[in-house]
């Protein structure tokens, strides 16, 4: 297979300052990326899966030449991202920062024309290209309106269209469906698939949505705290939990520390994590457990729930998902924000 993106030992640190009063500042080093080695092959959809603050956007920014790595090398389509940045930028399409990447005082069409001109696409060809993109994504209804009148989802669709303007063979999509309603998100996922299957685009996308990665990606890298923890197809990653099971337990209220500690102490439990969810407008806690055998631990968990009078909403033993793989590797859930003072 033809390698289209290759990184070797990429490291990136950020210096951040925490204000500790009017004059006092505390300097802190945040390790955004640590020794990232990655290879993406031509024609695949590759997903970077990780929570907020994991280092996904930093890696995309390095690969798209917006940031310089502190250490390591990266090549995109055979070009060094530091030494040949303009060559790299000619051949990539990027969707970064979503709706903030647009000129709000211009219409959608004027935005596409402007960015198309910066890719030096001849005017006649550009008009044709814009028309094709507008039809492909279905922007006809609002393309001639000022962007400031768009909904969040419409802005994201336009940002997606902008990434396609130069018909690049490689697309970088940073959280392409974030802030989109479910209908538009599903449509964008469908378009990403089409771009890959029918137009042969190689796509690197970041997401913190497990189902998105599972649905779209040929291969996925799990990234957390700047490190790549695992790479493989979704099935390969899930096979690391072969023979294991996952249980989701929803409890009403938020005082579940005792129950979590109890579950952790049970034999056969590999990982436990929890996050807050809203179920029927009520606050609840979802506990995720990865274990050897639900049959053995479920009775004990249920007994404890009954004894301690927890308000149990739902228990769901199921096959492991990518979210469970992430939990297995990190001990945390994808929905957690792991940003450090950035």
């Amino acid at each position: 297979m033809n390698s289209i993106v290759k990184t070797v030992g990429i490291c990136k640190d950020y210096k951040s300052e925490l204000r500790k009063g009017f004059f006092r500042k505390e300097r802190k080093i945040v390790h955004a990326l640590r020794d990232v080695n990655l290879e993406i092959y031509e024609g695949e959809i590759f997903g970077l899966l990780g929570p907020n603050g994991a280092g996904k956007t930093t890696l995309i920014k390095i690969l798209t030449t917006l940031l310089l790595p502190d250490k390591g090398k990266a090549k995109v389509l055979g070009h060094d991202v530091v030494k040949e940045s303009i060559e790299v930028r000619k051949k990539i399409g990027v969707m970064l920062m979503g709706e903030r990447s647009l000129y709000w005082k211009l219409t959608g069409c004027e935005n596409l024309e402007y960015f198309g001109s910066l890719y030096r696409i001849p005017t006649s060809k550009l008009k044709e290209r814009i028309s094709d993109i507008v039809d492909f994504i279905g922007l006809n209804e609002f393309i001639d309106r000022l962007v400031e009148t768009y909904s969040s989802g419409q802005k994201m669709l336009l940002a997606f269209a902008k990434a396609l303007i130069n018909d690049a063979p490689l697309l970088f999509l940073d959280e392409p469906t974030v802030t989109m309603d479910p209908r538009n998100a599903a449509m964008i996922r469908q378009k990403i698939k089409e771009l890959n299957r029918e137009y042969g685009k190689t796509i690197l996308l970041t997401t913190h949505l497990m189902h998105e990665a599972e649905q779209l990606c040929d291969r996925v890298a799990i990234i957390d705290k700047g490190r790549i923890l695992a790479i493989g197809t979704p099935d390969e990653l899930k096979s690391t939990l072969r023979g294991k099971s996952s249980i989701e337990i929803d409890i009403l209220g938020n005082r579940v520390e005792g129950l979590i500690e109890f579950i952790k102490s049970l034999d056969g439990v590999m990982s436990v994590a929890s996050n807050y969810v809203r179920i029927n407008h009520k606050e609840a806690v979802r506990i995720k457990v990865i274990c050897d055998s639900p049959r053995e631990i479920l009775p004990e968990i249920i007994n404890r729930v009954v004894d301690d009078k927890y308000n149990l909403l739902y228990i769901n033993p199921k096959e492991p998902t990518l979210e469970d793989v992430f939990l297995h590797y990190t001990g945390r859930l994808l929905s957690e924000d792991t940003r450090e003072g950035l």
Binding site: R100, K105, R120
Partner: protein, 275 residues
């Protein structure tokens, strides 16, 4: 390069026409701004005629109206270029579009040159329109259709071009410390004082005059006045021209160097897209 310049001009023109209030302000403001010292001069001298006599005695011309108008227009031109360019960088940064521009295969220098050319074009147009409007209002329009006006425009261009480099330097500073408004507001009165918008720079003490001469517009303004009002040049026409030509090479070079340095640093530290 031409396609990029065209695209930037088109974008900025659309933005300008979608905020039309600024167009009117830039034409009216210098005229209103010049009227203040003119009326003050009348009050101090006792009458417009006496003011003209006093002014001729000290400056060498009785046409104080054109003197003031040229001064305030030149100052507003410098302010306009610095705001236009400085705020452009900051606004793109705040909107989030600066990173998008740097994702395209256009080199940052091309973008800067294009944006700077727009700032120059826009400000020069405002200068000329306001000058002609003032010419009609203050009855010196005939002077603007003499051959001397061609030389005046040469001095204007030679003063404005290095100012683009100066604006680039300020833009780099803004990209780094992100306090566009504070920097620009600090510079405005400083430039007004040094360039000599309401008085000839030759009246200032030597130290201040020397500092003032580092600003290309000081020479440009005095020489425009010299051509149109027949008063003294800073040094002499040839030497002034030479200095302005040197500034035309020096200031843009300094500005580009500063911008490249700040951009590289921002790429290292990750500060390009920040607020």
């Amino acid at each position: 390069m031409l396609q990029v310049v065209k695209a930037v001009f088109k974008l900025r023109w659309k933005y300008l026409t979608r905020y039309p209030g600024w167009l009117i302000i830039f034409i009216i403001l210098p005229i209103v701004f010049s009227v203040i010292p003119i009326v003050l001069g009348w009050a101090v001298a006792g009458s417009p005629q006496q003011a003209a006599i006093n002014f001729k005695m000290n400056v060498g011309t009785s046409n104080y109206t054109l003197f003031m108008i040229l001064g305030s227009l030149t100052w507003l031109l410098s302010v306009s270029i610095m705001w236009d360019f400085g705020m452009w960088i900051r606004e793109e940064q705040e909107m989030g579009t600066l990173e998008q521009l740097l994702l395209t295969p256009v080199s940052p220098v091309e973008l800067l040159v294009s944006s700077n050319l727009w700032a120059l074009f826009n400000s020069a147009m405002q200068f000329l329109i306001a000058l002609f409007v003032a010419g009609i209002l203050f009855n010196f329009i005939g002077l603007l259709f003499t051959p001397a006006m061609v030389l005046t425009l040469v001095y204007l261009i030679l003063g404005v071009f290095p100012l683009a480099g100066f604006a680039l330097l300020i833009g780099s500073l803004i990209l780094k410390i992100r306090e566009a408004e504070a920097i620009l507001r600090l510079l405005e009165p400083g430039i007004a004082f040094l360039v000599g918008i309401f008085y000839p720079v030759t009246l200032m003490p030597t130290v201040i005059r020397t500092i003032a001469l580092l600003i290309p517009l000081t020479i440009s303004l005095q020489d425009m006045r010299a051509v149109l009002l027949n008063i003294s040049y800073i040094f002499n026409p040839q030497l002034d021209l030479l200095i302005l030509l040197i500034y035309c090479a020096l200031w843009p070079l300094l500005g580009t160097k500063a911008f490249n340095y700040v951009e590289k640093k921002a790429k290292k530290e990750g500060g390009l897209g920040g607020f």
